[in-house]
Amino acid sequence: MAATMKVDIVSAEEQIFSGDAEFVVLPGIMGELGIYPRHTPLFTEIKPGAVRMKVPNQEREELVFVMGGYLEVQPHAVTVLADTAIRAKDLDEKAALEAKRAAEEAMQNKTSKEEIAQAEAELATALAQLEAIRKLRHRA
């Protein structure tokens, strides 16, 4: 039996996946990452996309879609701290402004920059989801 490591994918809202895996592929911010057990400690950011896991005694790979977040690798454990939604600087800014605006109860028109950021984030989600679906179909 091949060596395994513990994989946990958690977001602030829920536990997405927890179990053992022989091999994990994640969409790192600097490029796709393939992690085997006994990997050196690594800490990086991940992009929205699919996380693939080779689970022992299972022909098919587990596929989990994440909205980006952070990845911590320890020799025997992989932890993904997943975001619950696509994060972009302009979007966070927009949320902050909205909260402020709600408090001030003053109405302001949206700027086009914010709209573009929102559209881009939606597009990124859609593309990543499509990619995950395509991978699933490919194997089915």
């Binding site: 977040g69 994060r87 902050a96 402020k100 709600a102």
Partner: protein, 296 residues
């Protein structure tokens, strides 16, 4: 003595109220279970995020992250106040707002300014009346807390912190202890205390011993630490919101149960009065008839 018709009407009205409070009690009971599950679900994320953030901070001592750096002089405080949107949940909001008020007085007496962020409608309504300066708010959170609803108000306060406008960030919320007991709590979140409080109240030090090993960082430690810290703070606030919702539902369930019981008592009392007046009316009529017959 009120007429028997009047009492009948009153009984019916109390019965209707009881139906409503009973329904609300049952709705709250079912929502409470889900809210409690959600409360627990965010624990692992919080614990992991804390351990990683502290490890990264300790391993990179040359970079002092602003969220970990304690400021010498504190002039202004940012406070996040988590309350419910709806009422009918007993003394839940009153208790947490009383705590906020006492802290507010303490801070004001010490010459500190306070900026408030209101999460939930009750706080937003109360804070300005207390004389608090509300800089951001989010209301109508619904039954499910969403992290993205929390991000905006938290960011607005963290940005103020980084800009040096506020020197500490506090969070006030109602902590869920069990179904019968909820406690208002307030605590400092920024600068980040170097310990982690478990739900049992037990304090945990970060597990990592700095220096023995370190991560490979991609792209670099600072960027990652910045992002991780923000998410950690957001997760704390999210946890506070989730816990507040669990508290809200159980407080509402208990309050509505008490209301239902009270309605039952009132109905019994009214029923007794009704029976008495009915009997009195019958006796009166009978004596009138008898009296009439004797006269003839």
């Amino acid at each position: 003595m009120p007429s028997s018709k009047e009492i009948r009407g009153k009984i019916r009205s109390v019965q209707n109220t009881r139906k409503i409070t009973k329904a609300m009690e049952m709705v709250a009971a079912s929502k409470m279970r889900k809210a409690q599950d959600r409360m627990r679900a965010s624990r692992p994320y919080l614990e992991r995020a804390f351990n990683i953030a502290i490890h990264v901070a300790q391993a990179n001592a040359e970079y002092r992250h602003p969220f970990l750096h304690k400021r010498e002089t504190v002039k202004r405080i940012g406070a996040i106040v988590v309350t419910t949107d709806k009422g009918l949940c007993g003394g839940l909001n009153t208790n947490v707002l009383r705590l906020v008020l006492s802290k507010h007085k303490e801070w004001t007496a010490a010459g500190l300014g306070v900026d408030y962020v209101a999460i939930g409608g009750k706080g937003l309504a109360f804070l300005p009346r207390m004389g608090g300066n509300v800089v951001a708010s989010v209301v109508q959170l619904g039954d499910r807390p969403h992290l993205d609803r929390v991000v905006g108000p938290v960011k607005s306060l963290l940005d103020r912190y980084i800009a040096g406008e506020v020197d500490e960030v506090w969070v006030f919320y109602t902590s869920f202890i069990n179904t019968m007991k909820q406690e208002p709590r307030g605590g400092r979140v920024v600068p980040v205390p170097m310990r982690f409080q478990k739900p049992s109240g037990e304090l945990v030090k970060p597990e990592s011993a700095a220096g023995s090993w370190d991560y490979i960082y991609e792209p670099d430690a600072r960027t990652l630490l910045d992002g991780m810290m923000r998410r950690y703070i957001e997760a704390i606030v999210y946890q506070a919101v989730a816990e507040n919702m669990g508290s809200e539902q159980s407080a509402r369930m208990v309050a509505m149960k008490a209301a239902t019981d009270n309605a039952g008592k009132i109905i019994n009392e009214l029923q007794l009065i009704y029976n008495k007046t009915r009997q009195a009316a019958i006796t009166k009529e009978l004596s009138e008839i008898v009296g009439g017959a004797a006269a003839v």
